[in-house]
Amino acid sequence: MDFMVFQYPMITVQACLDGLLLGILFALIAYGMALQWGVMNIINIAQGDLVILGGYIAYFMYLYGIHPAWGVIVSPIIMYFIGVGIYKLVINKVVDRDLFISILATFGISILFMQLMNFAFGADVVLANSGYGTTMLFDNNVTLPNSKIFSAVISIVFAIGLVIYMKKSKLGRAIRATAQNSRAAKILGVDTEKVYAATFGINAALCGVAGALISITFTIHPYMGLPYTIRSFMIVIVAGLGNLPGVAMSGMGLGVFEEFADYILGTEFRIGAVFLLLVLILVYRRFKLSRKREYLK
């Protein structure tokens, strides 16, 4: 245990800012998960692998001399079609089934994607350089890489854009209607099959954006997807489905929590701390639920 993070106020500030910027990015991935979970009742284990695949798209643009920031536009477009493709191939066969079946199916997709990416792109750790420089605050004591700020801003832009799209557009309304009651939506003329495909596509596109941002800020590697799946799962569990402000808040909260866990427990326990928190929250939820049941008795 190391409490240095509280001994120097500048480190505390740094940890909070790092965590917030990171958390906003997590929230974007989690939003995609919450969306398809809410609409299709599918927990997508391959979420993190879609993120990494999106990252590779930006990385390849960077390799061919295009600035990786364009990845946030190109990657979601490609990923949308990949998402729709996955839906047509696999997900549409499990969408009305048990939740467990969908977990198994997406788990399979996850393994397949990892191996395919490893096969196609190699096992090297790669990154795309944005060349964005650094912002210094408080007499150079706090440093914020501009790439992280860029990531957070882009994430917010996409999240707001999606909220507006959901509220105003025809497809958005259809998606929300299907989420509320798919049978009723069907009766009223909504093509739910199309809505499901679009939802999965939108989720994949969001992963594409996040992946492009991760290739700019961190590193990507075919086997690095799982931690992103776990994080978004956890954010959605805390926030609940269909609660966008909740997703944003719990995303940022998780970012800050991770950052502090990193300082206090050490970097090696960072992901471990996330898992532990997940277990605690699940136990707490169960506890609350069982109390409610007792009350009903």
């Binding site: 480190i11 096992a123 210094m136 931690p227 300082y263 970097t267």
Partner: protein, 412 residues
């Protein structure tokens, strides 16, 4: 196009696997000496696995075309059976069993990485199969009393202790403060032990001792501590992702530290991926092409690098060079043993004392190579932003002078 390529390679991989499993090999068939190797062709080690395989193949071709191996007045040629261990230790151990008990292989080459070598060594030991390995540096491999394991490379604890000595030397012999960040795997932890020994020996002080996780891609917390504590040396070892992450975040966070020492810089293609940001990083390496060791097959490092580039299209990392050296060691041992008896070959291997383009090779009791020091190179860039690795220590092979301390970010 990608898909068709994937399908095609999948089918050919299956075909190769099938064809090798039908025929049963013995150790020496006709004029061939058959060696077995489980190598990571898929999975997380696949890029280094390919470097290893290329190194082996290069040496096999070279030795065969230059007269092969002479045993008992007859000339033999090398041949290697490869299996893909999928970067998985369990699979590697199974494949070693299969190579020995089904394919009848009596001599083995090592896999890639300490972890996989650790998985295979008990198997080769059980059957008394001599194994020359080139990619497992973990100290724990050499303390188990294995009799049939020989490593052409220097053990992991020697990777970065030179850097601490160098820092003390630059500090006029006075002790220094050291910040350390190491991944939690067998190899990196051995590197850490070596650094701790050096710290103790020089009376230096460690101020940060962080452990990095396997899924590392953010080490900002460690670097913030470094900014606060201002150590004389920062040591990082976490395979390629550690090297890449460290350089990216040191540059982004403008962390000033007089000396930065790392492992896996060349495997991570640091200077290519990060350009000028990687400048001044000190890197531990088993081998560098400018070293002036010589042998009859590859001449010297520069010639090896040129030939390798011609054949495979890239500059050889040290993983390839040491793999090639393993074959030279086998050839030498077979000829001195003048026999294919496993015990005699084992004894000949133990008595090895030779120079290769990769370095001098002489095995200690535990099987590690004790006659080849590690080298440190520093990434140096010219005005146009082209970066090169230049050997700076030990001084005997230095092709450039160490730049110390590293200029501050505000002055770059």
């Amino acid at each position: 196009m990608k898909i068709s390529k994937i399908i095609l390679s999948f089918i050919s991989a299956v075909a190769i696997l099938l064809s090798t499993s039908v025929t049963s090999f013995a150790k020496v068939v006709g004029d061939k000496i058959v060696l077995g190797a489980a190598i990571s062709l898929t999975g997380k080690y696949s890029s280094n696995g390919v470097h290893t395989q290329n190194g082996y193949n290069m040496a096999v071709d070279r030795i065969n075309s230059m007269g092969g191996v002479k045993v008992g007045g007859k000339t033999y040629k090398f041949e290697i059976i490869y299996y893909d261990d999928e970067s998985n230790p369990k699979r590697a151990a199974q494949l070693a069993e299969r190579l020995i008990s089904q394919d009848g292989v009596e001599f083995m080459l090592g896999p890639y990485s300490s972890g996989l070598t650790k998985a295979i060594a008990p198997v080769t030991e059980k059957y008394g199969v001599p194994m020359v390995e080139a990619n497992g540096a973990s100290r724990s491999l050499f303390t188990k009393g294995y009799k049939y394991l020989f490593a052409v490379l220097a053990p992991a604890n020697l990777y970065l202790d030179v850097a601490i000595d160098l820092a003390v030397e630059k500090n006029n012999g006075k002790p220094v403060t050291v910040a350390m960040a190491f991944e939690q795997d067998a190899f990196s932890q051995d590197v850490r032990l070596g650094v701790l020994d050096a710290i103790k020996r020089t009376g230096s002080k460690k101020v940060i001792d962080d452990k990095l996780p396997k899924e590392l891609n953010d080490m900002a917390a460690t670097l913030v501590k470094v900014k606060q504590m201002k150590p004389d040396v920062l040591v990082v070892s976490g395979h390629t992702k550690g090297a890449l992450t460290a350089i990216r975040q040191i540059a982004e966070m403008k962390v000033d530290v007089p000396m930065l020492a790392m492992t896996h810089c060349d495997a991570a293609k640091l200077s290519k991926q990060h350009g000028k940001n990687s400048q001044y990083a000190l890197c531990a390496s088993q081998w560098h092409k400018t070293l002036t060791y010589k042998d009859n097959f590859f001449k010297d490092g520069m010639k090896y690098a040129a030939d390798f580039e011609k054949e495979f299209g890239y500059d050889p990392p040290y993983q390839s060079a040491e793999s090639s050296a393993a074959l030279l060691v086998f050839k030498d041992a077979f000829e001195r043993a003048n026999s294919f008896d496993q015990k005699k070959v084992r004894d000949a291997l133990a008595a090895t004392n030779m120079q290769t383009f990769y370095g001098n090779i002489k095995f200690a009791e535990g099987g590690q190579n004790v006659d080849k020091p590690m080298v440190l190179f520093q990434v140096m860039c010219d005005g146009s932003g082209k970066c090169e690795n230049k050997v700076v220590a030990p001084t005997k092979w230095a092709s450039a002078k160490l730049i110390h301390p590293i200029p501050k970010w505000s002055e770059r």
